[in-house]
């Protein structure tokens, strides 16, 4: 009895020790997440109800900042640009990523090389890549040189400098750089499709095109959702490229003004912290909704 009791208390002491060590080990990460993620979330919510400047609270606005967002032409412009960007970039990235994944997933020679090559643009940093793109798409750049030689006459269009093509050029740039990432996500899902499904299709005499559309594509459903959401979230947050090519202004003629760029300018240049936070909350709501939808869909779909 006494033996059992003392053993129990040793165990108890041991588990207290284990718990204390556990808290100590997670203390810094948890503190960091609380201070630099959770607190900012609450703080942003709080000050989005105020006119808030560099020196702090100016006056309480209630939902005034949110009402202003609804009537802010420049925000509307940024929102439309961002949505237009997403509508083009998301399906393109998905299609290209899927095509690359299906190709690279075959028993090919140099498969590792191809996979590495397609993912490489995603490894190089956004700013370095945008600098390269700015050069290639400049009025004396490689693209115009190519067009000139095809047309047989000089062609000098400044792709990032013209409001009619600036955003489209960023779209093309990012479809190129991120399709490799989408390829990796699709590859991970492709691995989960059992090979006997394909064997059955081959025995039934289904061609590869038919096999793809009738078997692979539907079985990739979880992958489609996942890639779509990752791609949409990434598109909503487009910033680096737009900032670089426009020098931070969102020009020419606000053609590269995106939600995050507008948020940045409102906060850093305009020092309108309350209003910028309200924009951040709107963006957060959009992203959170999408993430929840993704989690729900993903929770139900089995990836195996």
């Amino acid at each position: 009895m006494t033996v059992a009791k003392s053993r129990g208390s040793t165990l108890g002491r041991e588990s207290v020790r284990e718990a204390l060590v556990g808290y100590a080990f997670v203390a810094l990460p948890i503190a960091s997440f609380l201070i630099f993620f959770m607190y900012p979330l609450g703080y942003a919510f709080y000050i989005s109800y105020f006119d808030w400047g560099a020196l702090g609270r100016i006056e309480s606005l209630g939902l005034g900042n949110y009402r202003e967002i609804l009537h802010d032409d420049l925000f509307g412009h940024a929102l439309r640009n961002t949505l237009r960007y997403a509508v083009i970039v998301v399906p393109s990235q998905m299609a290209l990523g899927l095509a690359l994944a299906v190709t690279v997933n075959q028993a090919l020679r140099f498969r590792t090389f191809f996979r590495a090559a397609f993912y490489f643009p995603a490894v190089a940093g956004s700013i370095a890549i945008t600098a390269v793109a700015a050069y290639i798409l400049s009025s004396d750049g490689l693209l115009n040189a190519g067009i000139s030689s095809v047309r047989g006459s000089e062609y000098h269009h400044s792709w990032f400098g013209d409001s009619g093509t600036a955003l489209e050029s960023i779209m093309a740039l990012n479809i190129w750089t991120t399709s490799g990432t989408m390829m990796l996500f699709y590859l991970a899902t492709l691995q989960s499709i059992p090979t006997d499904v394909y064997e059955a299709a081959a025995i039934d005499g289904a061609g590869s095109w038919r096999t793809f559309w009738k078997i692979t594509f539907p079985l990739l459903k979880p992958g489609h959702f996942f890639v779509a959401v990752v791609s949409v979230i990434g598109s909503l947050q487009i910033f680096d490229q737009a900032f670089f090519v426009s020098g931070g202004s969102g020009g020419p003629n606000y053609s590269t003004m995106t939600i995050v760029l507008y948020l940045f300018n409102t906060a850093i240049d305009g020092v309108r912290f309350g209003y910028a936070s309200a924009i951040g909350i709107v963006l957060f709501a959009m992203i959170a909704t999408l993430t929840l939808i993704q989690r729900l869909l993903f929770g139900r779909a089995e990836v195996a």
Partner: protein
């Protein structure tokens, strides 16, 4: 239940693949469907087409990089032409970028920031990951849920609060804006890395630790001597993911260091250079090459770990 407390934690689907990738170090590639006899000829011509197409696409993916490298070896007048290769290749642009435009300094800043952030993330995410995977303490599930929840918060939303916090840090009342410490502080550890480490530790059999426990090893010693050496692939994935993220980071350096050129990183330096010297293409391309080559080298040697890291980071989106 006491034996498998990890089952109580919320499952996160997309990461299963990442976990497997981390464990195996590479995507397990399934065998392609077997061909059917009599179809071989069309199969063969199809293959040839596929290879040609693939090489063409790969070439298309590489042209911009090739072009930036050759341009960085050209002179300014030559850079506006269509010469594939420079007539008189020279490293003048690199010399200019490094000495006249301070890319030397930006490079060192980038190295410094990336190395420190990577080391602190490695240590804290593995230590925390070990605790979440193995140690039992009240509130563990709640705290782990908190880790996952941070993944949902976009960093743009944190811009204003973090900016204000750095200007006048609560309680301490110090100004960390424009300091390296400020950058380190907000990048101590990432939820993605912590998550990746925890998932990996869960796959390691408990026998190893039990042996260590019998030898009288404490928790930290078990983590340091037993768990870390077994977690090579996950540590590699976290290293690459974090280093790449910090090396290419533009958003936070822009917010923290804007205006103080002595603290600029390569991306910030390139931005500043581009706005000041609009068309000095060879120098800008030299800077791009300087920014891309280190990460490209790491990529070439550790490609398989990139795959694991990226797929896991996908949770973050």
């Amino acid at each position: 239940m006491a034996d498998t407390p990890e089952r109580d934690l919320p499952p996160v689907r997309p990461v299963v693949a990442a976990e497997q990738l981390a464990t195996e170090g590479e995507v397990a590639i399934g065998t392609a469907p077997a061909g059917i006899p009599g179809r071989e000829r069309s199969e063969k011509s199809r293959r040839v087409i596929v290879y040609i197409l693939l090489f063409f696409v790969a070439l298309l993916f590489f042209i911009p990089f090739f072009w930036s490298v050759t341009t960085s070896l050209k002179t300014l007048p030559e850079s506006v032409g269509f010469n594939l290769l420079p007539e008189h290749p020279s490293i003048r642009a690199y010399r200019q970028a490094i000495s006249a435009y301070d890319f030397n300094r930006y490079f060192l800043n980038s190295v410094f920031l990336s190395v420190v952030v990577t080391m602190s993330t490695l240590f804290l995410s593995s230590l925390g990951g070990y605790a979440f995977a193995r140690l039992r303490f009240p509130g563990r599930e709640v705290l782990f849920f908190l880790v996952l929840a941070t993944l949902m918060i976009p960093h743009e939303l944190r811009l204003v609060p973090v900016f204000q916090m750095l200007i006048d840090f609560p309680v301490l009342h110090v100004n960390l804006l424009g300091t390296y410490q400020g950058y380190f502080l907000i990048n101590l550890v990432s939820a993605t890395s912590l998550f990746l480490m925890r998932q990996y530790f869960l796959t390691i059999p408990k026998d190893y630790e039990e042996a260590a426990k019998l030898d009288g090893a404490g928790y930290f010693k078990t983590y340091w001597r037993v768990m870390l050496p077994l977690a090579g692939p996950a540590l590699a994935a976290v290293t690459i993911l974090t280093f790449q993220g910090a090396w290419n980071d533009f958003f936070w350096p822009l917010i923290i260091f804007l205006g103080d050129e002595s603290k600029y990183t390569l991306p910030l330096g390139m931005f500043q250079f581009r706005t000041q010297f609009y068309t000095l293409w060879p120098e800008l391309m030299a800077a791009s090459v300087i920014a891309i080559v280190p990460i490209a080298l790491i990529y070439v040697f550790f490609q398989r770990y990139f795959v694991a890291g990226v797929t896991a980071a996908g949770v973050k989106g």
